[in-house]
């Protein structure tokens, strides 16, 4: 069930340049079921900025009633979010949307998790769930540059982890798709979240495979009421059938919607 709650900030740390890890505590954590769901945050009181900001759930701790988000402070809203300190209250609406289907990968099978930039965070909770089910996970994570890389160690603890930077300043130089090819990575199921061109490339390349993509779109309500975030379905690409990224997604099976 979707809840609105003032959650208490437990910790906020800058873990890479302009990348923040924010942990908050609240009862709505009990509603968080699937990895890949997101929350809609009101970063301050008042009307500037007006709209909530969609941010993925990166880590859930049911015992402590906390969850963690990782985000890039960039525009007006996220920069304000970065000023929150321990003990502050944050207006959270969530959990929202449908996440990654963990049950689509069987124990002992291999799941490949591909993330790009601020699409990496939801893969962390996903990877923990998969490994807990006995799934072998491989991570391929792309970032812009060396000092934007985060959670490398955390992912490594769960499975083999390859990092690419677009400017070549750290680890592999180039795109995540290059790593998958050059390292001959094989897998049973692919889960991915990141910039749309990356998702398109992966969908194209692995048509014959089971692939799940998490999409990004500008949002109004975040709960399915305003029709801001729709996309066409693949079977009716120019017609009237649609899916809402906020409530039907953000995760879709490859080939389900037009990206």
């Amino acid at each position: 069930m979707i809840k609105q709650e003032l959650c208490q900030v437990i910790d906020q740390t800058e873990i890479a340049t302009n990348i923040y890890e924010l942990t908050v505590k609240g009862e709505l954590v009990h509603e968080m079921k699937e990895p890949g769901q997101f929350v809609h945050l009101k970063v301050n009181n008042g009307i500037s900025p007006l709209l909530r900001r969609p941010i993925s759930i990166a880590n859930i701790n049911q015992d402590e009633e906390t969850f963690t988000m990782i985000y890039r402070a960039e525009g007006k809203g996220t920069r304000l979010l970065a000023t929150l300190q321990q003990g502050d209250l944050l207006d959270v609406l969530g959990p929202l949307g449908h996440g990654f289907p963990v049950e689509e990968t069987e124990a002992c099978d291999t799941a490949l998790l591909v993330g790009g930039g601020i699409g990496v965070p939801p893969l962390y909770e996903l990877s923990q769930r998969l490994t807990a089910n006995g799934v072998k996970v491989i991570h391929v994570l792309g970032h812009q540059t060396k000092n934007a890389v985060f959670y490398e160690e955390e992912f490594k603890q769960l499975g083999p982890t390859f990092i690419a930077t677009a400017d070549g300043s750290y680890a592999y130089s180039g795109f995540v798709t290059d790593i998958i090819k050059n390292e001959n990575i094989t897998f049973d199921v692919l889960y991915t979240c990141g910039p749309t061109p990356m998702l398109r490339a992966l969908e194209q390349e692995y048509r014959h495979k089971k692939v799940f993509l998490s999409l990004e779109e500008r949002m109004g309500c975040g709960i399915g009421a305003c029709f801001a975030c729709v996309c066409h379905t693949a079977e009716d690409p120019t017609g009237v059938s649609y899916k809402k990224v906020c409530s039907d997604g953000p995760v879709f099976k490859a080939g389900e919607v037009v990206i």
């Binding site: 609105q4 009307i47 709209l51 009421a225 029709f227 801001a228 009237v240």
Partner: protein, 313 residues
């Protein structure tokens, strides 16, 4: 005794607060959050004859104290609304105001005729901000004669009272209001969004795929207040006011300007519980201002003291 109940043509409202069209879908999402029977009414998403996908994305952009939207009237079409959405909504004890849109007079007439017969539709809201394909895309709501003719024709077929939703994108709002009043409108709703644009300084291109979008939210409230203040003094039909309402105080301001009820749009996205919160806060605010009933507030900004039923504050 309730301090909030309001009677308007076709509408017996428990309270004068309702979600605005397009900001509440057909109520399903918000029904998971609270009991919709608390609301005064619900203005459902614009319904057109045929289903529409709407515009490409991005469809929304944030602005200072507001947002732009160019959804493009996405909706499942008349048949689905009448056969699925309205029957579903009938489980709630709340009157529905059906927002009717089209690109030709004939479309409006067909939708109005059929949707007005649904048992829980108590009034129509005619969305005349849509482009008229027969006049090269000029909005119905920007030419008084066209708006009047449309109102007249819809009135002829509608089984329930018709409220006309005025577009603020006109030079003379009073002239428009009078034109539709003469066309037989039972009430007015105002305002729809103001046409605007945002440009992304990285790409150099408009943020919204449709280029222009409708500005809504607190940023437009003073425009709406001014227009309601002008129009309410010149017409005899009631006005449902909207534009950036975010608090019980805003509701009173709208009433003072001349509104008899108020719709909340954009702020539902910011606080999904905004409508029930405002409804809960209103009685105390009204009493603290010295009124027994909210209807005493209508037009207070321009009514002469003698005309006011209540003297205080």
């Amino acid at each position: 005794m309730s301090a909030l109940n309001i009677s308007l043509p076709g509408l017996e409202l428990k309270n004068p607060i309702m979600p605005a069209s397009g900001c509440f879908g057909f109520g399903r999402e918000y029904s998971d959050l609270y009991d919709l029977s608390q609301l005064g009414a619900i203005m459902i998403k614009a319904t057109t004859k045929d289903a529409r996908f709407g515009n490409p994305t991005p469809r929304v952009a944030e602005t200072s104290a507001g947002m732009l939207n160019a959804i493009g009237l996405q909706n499942p079409g008349l048949t689905k609304v009448v056969e699925e959405e309205l029957p579903w909504l009938s489980q709630f004890d709340v009157p529905i105001i059906a927002n009717v849109a089209g690109s030709m007079e004939e479309d409006y007439i067909e939708v109005a005729k059929e949707i007005s017969q649904a048992p829980n539709v108590h009034a129509l809201e005619l969305n005349i901000s849509c482009p008229n394909v027969k006049t090269g895309g000029i909005a119905f709501g920007t030419v008084p004669e066209i708006a009047q003719s449309l109102t007249k024709k819809v009135k002829e077929v509608s089984a329930v009272p018709v409220y006309v939703k005025l577009s603020p994108n006109v030079t003379n709002i009073v002239e428009m209001a009078k034109a539709v009043e003469q066309g037989g409108a039972d009430g007015l709703t105002m305002i729809n969004t103001l046409v605007g644009m945002r440009i992304d300084i990285k790409t150099g291109k408009p943020v919204i795929a449709n280029k222009t979008g409708g500005l809504s939210g607190p940023a437009i409230k003073p425009v709406a207040i001014r227009m309601i203040h002008e129009v309410s003094q010149q017409v005899a039909i009631p006005i449902i006011g909207m534009g950036g309402v975010e608090s019980a105080e805003d509701v009173i301001e709208y009433f003072y300007a001349g509104a008899s009820a108020v719709a909340v749009g954009t702020m539902n996205f910011v606080d999904p519980f905004i409508c029930p919160k405002i409804i809960a806060e209103l009685p105390e605010l009204i009493h603290s201002l010295g009124f027994d009933h909210i209807s005493e507030c209508t037009g207070r900004s321009w009514k002469t003291v003698e005309k006011l039923t209540h003297h205080r504050a």
